[in-house]
């Protein structure tokens, strides 16, 4: 898809010029090299992954992100408390959670949200379920309770 490659390259070049703010030959050369590298890598990725699709989430992430950030803050404080506790009261466990999302993008957002909140890590996403490593019983219960799961599923909308 040559048009996709061209658009990707132009967007990347625009982003580079905007963020660099320098006009000398050396940095232009670095920019051109970076753009070519990224375009080349993403072309290779197209060959191993399924055909790329454009998903539109609209403005729905605006409601999800503040909620996620607050979850991240709470999870961070909980894990920091565990680390600072002299007895290190952790109880690691593995749990498998069925992902309620229907699209690969939704499942990626769910798995990444799990990993972003300390206390839970996503190890693998397979057959529509996520294998999660949880640091304590409470963090495992938090994932199984499912409010993050449902919110990310709602993020997908009906599309």
């Amino acid at each position: 898809m040559p048009i996709r490659i061209l658009v990707t390259g132009l967007l990347l070049a625009g982003a580079w010029l905007l963020w660099s703010g320098h006009n000398d030959a050396l940095l232009f050369a670095f920019g051109a090299g970076s753009v070519l590298l990224v375009v080349g890598v993403s072309r290779r990725m197209d060959r191993v992954a399924e055909a790329p699709r454009v998903y539109t989430l609209g403005l729905r992430p605006l409601a999800y992100l503040p909620w996620l950030l607050w979850e991240i803050v709470k999870a961070n404080l909980a894990v920091a408390r565990l680390i600072l506790d002299p007895s290190l009261p952790i109880a690691p466990r593995l749990v498998r959670v069925r992902a309620l999302q229907k699209t690969p993008l939704g499942q990626t957002i769910f798995a990444n949200s799990i990993t972003l909140t300390p206390g839970t890590l996503s190890l693998e996403v397979e057959d529509g379920s996520v294998l999660v490593h949880a640091l304590t019983a409470e963090s495992a219960a938090g994932v199984l309770e499912g409010s993050m799961n449902r919110r990310v599923a709602r993020l997908e909308g009906e599309g």
């Binding site: 961070n76 990993t115 206390g119």
Partner: protein
Amino acid sequence: MTDLTGLLSWVLLGSGALFCVVGGLGLLRMPDFWARAHAAGISDTLAAGLILSGLMLQAGFGLVTVKLVMVLVFIYITSPTAGHALYRAAHAHGLAFGADTRLETEQVGEDRGAD
């Protein structure tokens, strides 16, 4: 910059640095690879967010703050993606879980059911 934003900025930078130290302490204290990864998450998320927010207050409105926001956005996308690749590789190659890890892998979250 008013005194208040300066003060707030230093509170954010200081607490971000503090959480970096806590994350590092966790890396040392945790018993196995998996538990250490949770501790590393503190530096990647809360500490990075606090420090970058503090820097945004230092920079004020402008291109520098836009760049800092983009740095934060990219960290929040790339760090769990890279983390997932690392954990998946470790899991796929059979890295052992700590002896006290409960392997209740069959537990399944609430299903959406018939609706």
